[in-house]
């Protein structure tokens, strides 16, 4: 075997390490990180890129070196050296990858726990609203008095996304809301509270409902229904996600968070936006022919801007304001959607629900 001298090996090793670390920090592959959760995930990705680059260079380097160094000479008909194996070497290249994946696994576990994936309250929190909901009934009007949150029952005001009265008009009433089974733990998928926020309720609870091919956001505290998601930065948001027809998935690349929306079930996503800006909300689970256009915006804004928006919406939400806005704005999402309406089975009620969104757009 043609083993390079120890100095060459050392230099190659140093070079590999330097390149790997440099690329791990400077790959520029990810968009801006706009949530507190994104930071941990990005660091994890950087680590994996670093390790991956090193491995990539070792394997490709060996292949290319062998390609030139060990090519058969035209007149050489003999065989190569008879080497059947090398136990220490084999143990080494079993152990090193094992240690590497162990490190990545432990780090992933840590990051997952930090973004709230292992929230110990998961079960009880998911379960509470299901029981609570019985009191409201799915047909309740949006103006139904909401029980104010109290310390003893922080989730009393929560309205299940799957039974949210605000989206009743577009809901397929034949889909029964799923309930937790007595013997199973939490079956509702979720990213819960981060360890710091565990046990507290989120600052804002918003229901997100996916339907072919739009997102509807409702703010149960204020009765706002919107086609775009407005959130204040620095505050913890709890999104209750559900779907009204087929599977969808709520994804904001800048937040690095994604959660499937499942008809009849509620899944939850708790996160804290950290950067002001407008980002895309994308449906990431194939939901039909127009899956690609199922998109909207999330607007992360300052608390003051958010409060102003809430006030505007509460005024605008009155039916009269809606009609005025339609008359004043001929180019609205409605018209954009109009050609699809017949194809997609979006009925007037759905479009109606989207009004607050374009109202907002016209206000700016």
């Amino acid at each position: 075997m043609n083993i390079p001298g120890s100095i060459t090996t050392l230099l190659i090793g140093i070079g590999l390490t330097v390149i790997s670390f440099w690329y791990g920090q400077n790959h520029g592959l990810l968009p801006v990180a706009a949530s507190e959760e994104a930071v941990g995930i990005d660091n994890l990705f950087n680590l994996m890129v670093t390790i991956g680059t090193g491995l990539f260079l070792i394997v490709q380097g060996t292949l290319i070196y062998s390609f030139f160094k060990f090519r058969r000479q035209p007149d050489d008909d003999t065989d190569g050296p008879y080497v059947e194996g090398n136990i220490p070497l084999e143990i080494l290249w079993t152990a090193i990858p094992a240690v590497i994946v162990l490190i990545i696994a432990v780090y992933s576990f840590e990051v997952y726990s930090r973004i709230g994936g292992l929230d110990p309250m998961a079960h009880s929190m998911a379960h509470a609203p299901a029981t609570q909901q019985v009191a409201y009934g799915s047909g309740a009007a949006i103006a139904a008095p909401l029980v104010p949150p109290t310390d003893s029952n922080p989730h009393a005001a929560m309205v299940m996304a799957a039974t949210d009265p605000a989206t009743a008009a577009v809901r397929d009433e034949t889909i029964p809301p799923a309930q937790d089974a007595p013997e199973m733990g939490v079956t509702t998928p979720r990213i819960g509270a981060t360890p710091d926020n565990a046990g507290q309720s989120a600052a804002y609870q918003i229901n997100a409902t996916g339907l072919q091919f739009a997102w509807l956001f409702t703010y149960p505290d204020t009765g706002i229904v919107a086609g775009e998601l407005h959130v204040p930065v620095g505050k913890e948001i709890l999104l209750n996600i559900s779907a009204n027809d087929v599977l969808h998935a709520f994804w904001v690349p800048e937040f690095r968070l994604k959660q499937d929306a499942i008809p009849g079930r509620q899944s939850e996503l708790r996160f804290t936006p950290s950067k002001i800006g407008e980002y895309d909300v994308i449906c990431a689970e194939l939901c039909g022919a127009y899956h690609g256009v199922m998109k909207t915006k999330v607007i992360a804004q300052t608390q003051a801007d958010f409060d102003t928006w809430v006030q505007e919406q509460q005024v605008a939400n009155s039916p009269d304001a809606l009609k005025t806005a339609i008359a004043a704005n001929p180019t609205t999402p409605d018209q954009f959607l109009a050609p699809f309406v017949q194809d997609l089975g979006i009925n007037a009620a759905v479009v109606e629900q989207l009004h607050p969104a374009h109202l907002h757009a016209s206000a700016h």
């Binding site: 059947e84 799923a178 309930q179 937790d180 089974a181 007595p182 013997e183 199973m184 079956t187």
Partner: protein, 206 residues
């Protein structure tokens, strides 16, 4: 891993081997084939059972409210018939290994009759149940699981009748050649074991 031949042995090799071998009969691996195939069959049932258990586990109430109680008497008798038939069919295997084709025919005929009674019993149960295929999730899984198993019983019955038909030719089955008998027997035991699990899951597990 080193082999110790030299150049002369390579030259000699063909003569040595050709001497003893040539085109001898293809060895019979069909029984192993049947067993390996039944592993695949078992996995379909295992998949369906697991699906059933999952539906059960994730439902707040199981069976869903309003599902009528299942009658246990008829399926219980049916179960006893099917399990006993496994012992009956084994006698046929013993018989054929003693070259007793009459015994083989007798035991296979009894097994076939027991299988037929089981199927008729199951059809009777279907017609007298208070729920239909689409009533609720429990009803759907009940019909699909028992129906899929019933199809297997039917197939096993066809195998048994096929063996009976062929056993009319003299010397078709003997102590040395009885693949069909063994395959039918193994298949029948398999169908039996599946039923036991099915019966426990659907009827006994509350």
């Amino acid at each position: 891993m080193q082999s110790s031949i030299d150049s002369t042995s390579v030259v000699n090799y063909p003569a040595e081997v050709a001497h003893g071998s040539g085109h001898h009969a293809h060895p019979d691996h069909r029984i192993l084939g049947v067993i390996v195939f039944l592993i695949a069959e078992a996995m379909i049932f295992l998949g369906l059972f697991t699906a059933y258990l999952t539906f059960r586990a994730v439902s707040p109430v199981w069976p869903p409210a309003g599902t009528p109680e299942l009658e246990l008497l008829l399926p219980g008798v049916n179960t006893i018939i099917l399990i006993s038939s496994s012992f009956v069919i084994h006698n046929a295997d013993v018989a054929v290994k003693k070259n007793d084709v009459k015994g083989l025919q007798l035991w296979f005929a009894i097994t076939a009759a027991m299988g037929a009674i089981f199927l008729v019993g199951q059809l009777y149960e279907y017609f007298h149940l208070e729920f239909g295929l689409k009533t609720n999730l429990f009803a759907s899984t009940f019909y699909v699981l028992t129906g899929f198993h019933g199809l297997h019983v039917l197939f096993g019955l066809v195998l048994i009748l096929g063996v009976l038909w062929r056993s009319r030719q003299p010397n078709h089955y003997s102590e040395t050649s009885h693949f069909g008998v063994e395959a039918a027997e193994i298949y029948w035991h398999f169908v039996d074991v599946v039923w036991i699990v099915l019966f426990i899951l659907l009827y006994l597990l509350k």
